[in-house]
Subunit: 360 residues, 2 copies
């Protein structure tokens, strides 16, 4: 196993210079380019063009956008302009509106002269809170990997689907958090990275793991079941987009198939996500609407040409009928545990865990 190195972060902020540095994710995994964001307009452009992606990261970038707006001109008018422009970049992103609302509320409660300083501090707080949540998820997951390692006394083979990783968050990611913490603590792990057609987010996961010096093997989604049959997978770790109170989890298309294979081969299957992913209004799994995405995600494939330039090839003519559901739902009965910042809960105990946490 290669030794772990300090991994590239999706976003870093420098209080002294009031600048952000981001990974331009429109170029990943085929090129790594760091961009500097200096104005709120830079932040808006980065969100709009998807140079930053993933709900937590979008929220943090927008919060810094408000802080940068206040640094330039702390009047109500200017902050309103920045707020409206930032909000309009990704209108359906819940985290974006949530982070912007926090920043506006704070700005309205303090004198103009303090806004630049205190909005920056608040953006740092939102950034740190995301990192802390994922660190806690990672610690709970790490305990499970440690237990497996004590039992098996060899490197632990982890299979993951899609990218619930560092690049969608500030640090750690969700499903990847225990992997990074295991590597940091010297626990030997090997990750099976699934391609995750049609958008091939496995390429981002592969890039992240390589960047962090963690041993891994890439495979097409079809091969995951066979690996489990062969005893090559010790645990499956995936993220989630939405979890019901009954413990059913909506995640990237194809997750359900891996949960079936894990169940069939008696392999533990964990879903890792912050508590904010649990939709306490949702009990009935059939109420989760599955987004039908553009068929061109299937018809075209992105990669690099012989000269290393990013390009794409067409696999199917535009007129071929394609179905492209973005997510599927893994029923609670196939899930060993759901790992949040609060701890590990069997799906049927999710509600009780939330209740206990609320009482504290």
């Amino acid at each position: 196993m290669r030794t772990a190195k300090a991994p590239t972060l999706s976003l870093t902020s420098d209080a002294a210079t009031r600048r952000l540095q981001i990974v331009d994710q429109t170029l990943l995994p085929f090129a790594l380019e760091i961009r500097e964001l200096v104005t709120w307009q830079d932040c808006a452009e980065a969100i709009l063009s998807m140079r930053v992606r993933g709900a937590p990261l979008i929220g943090v970038t927008a919060a810094y956008g408000m802080a940068l707006a206040a640094s330039a001109n702390a009047t109500d008018d200017h902050l309103d302009t920045a707020y409206n422009a930032l909000l309009a970049t990704r209108p359906t992103a819940v985290n974006l509106a949530w982070a912007l609302a926090i920043m506006c509320k704070l700005a309205n409660s303090i004198p103009h002269a303090e806004r630049a300083e205190l909005l920056w501090a608040e953006a740092v707080r939102i950034e740190s809170a995301d990192a802390a949540t994922n660190y806690a998820i990672g610690q709970h997951g790490l305990a499970l990997i440690k237990a497996l390692h004590e039992k098996l006394a060899r490197p632990i083979n982890i299979l993951t689907h899609c990218n619930a990783g560092r690049m969608a968050c500030i640090t750690w990611g969700t499903a990847t958090a225990p992997i990074y913490l295991a590597a940091q603590s010297g626990l030997p792990v090997h990750v099976y990275v699934e391609e995750t057609r049609p958008r091939n987010q496995g390429l981002i996961t592969q890039w992240e793991l390589q960047d962090a010096g963690i041993t891994h093997t890439y495979l097409v989604d079809n091969a995951g079941g066979h690996l489990m049959q062969q005893g090559k997978v010790d645990v499956v770790l995936v993220g989630a987009d939405r979890i019901t109170l009954a413990g059913d989890a909506a995640n990237k298309i194809g997750t359900y198939l891996k949960a079936l294979a894990a169940y069939d081969n008696h392999i533990p299957f964990y879903v890792l996500a912050p508590v904010s992913t649990i939709d306490t209004t949702l009990v009935d799994v059939s109420a989760i609407e599955i987004e039908e995405r553009n068929g061109d995600e299937v018809r075209l494939v992105h990669g690099t040409d012989e000269a290393g330039r990013t390009t794409s090839v067409r696999m199917l003519p535009a007129e071929v009928s394609v179905t492209n559901p973005g997510f599927d739902v893994t029923p609670a009965r196939l899930i060993t545990g759901i790992i949040t910042e609060l701890g590990v809960a069997a799906p049927q105990h999710l509600g009780a865990m939330l209740n206990n946490a609320a009482k504290r």
Copy 2:
């Protein structure tokens, strides 16, 4: 639903002109080009370069190669030369050696003067036998689709993985045979075609179905389980590379995952293959060796560029570790029935069906 039209055949022969016409499968699905084979050398080149592929089709092409050799020069020396060259094209293809052995045995039992005529007739017989086998498989499968249609009184949704289709055979294919027969008999069917990464043989299936005017929808492999959860699939039809006497079936990687999803959603799952696919020496499924294929099949993806030229893009650098198993094994317990030219058998009754057939 579009009306069915006469589909393009992988190979046609003309006794009057002693010529073959083949689809150049190295260009599929991105271009359709028909090539003429006039000499045994043409046949050898077509097999070697994989312009013809699929065990049955390779065997038939080689048989015609011997017939064409006899037409040019029916001496033992010349036939030996052709035999050796044809055999060397794909040394591991069982059907190739089998077909060539039949042709040699016949040639050795008849006068030189009759060889051209009788070897051609024998090649026609081998060709027809393949078509007849698949037609019988198709008829047994068709009965199941008919029964589903009588029960559901709407178009029947069939999901298929990989390409167990017309292009690997002479006509009909195996898993596709009931689909073509259903379309011919006016039964309304709709086919969900899985991409089948890494080699994307779903593109060939899609091309075949479009060529035959059969309604279909293309999807990535990850989406198949979700479609089953949504009640959008009535039956799964797949081929097989090898079947044990216990009814376990080795087929293209990813088949096992679809069998799990079909089982979980109470959807019938059928494996369609000629009796020759059943390996009566194999009882223990773990004895099936799974081929680990070149990782570049995963790292590179083929398609067309904007000008319509066939090209490829690189998704992963050459140094990224990839695992690329070619097949997986679907356990008998997940298979509703195995459909051969002899009929439909539950996996546990496969041995009995073979015994009964042998007694007749």
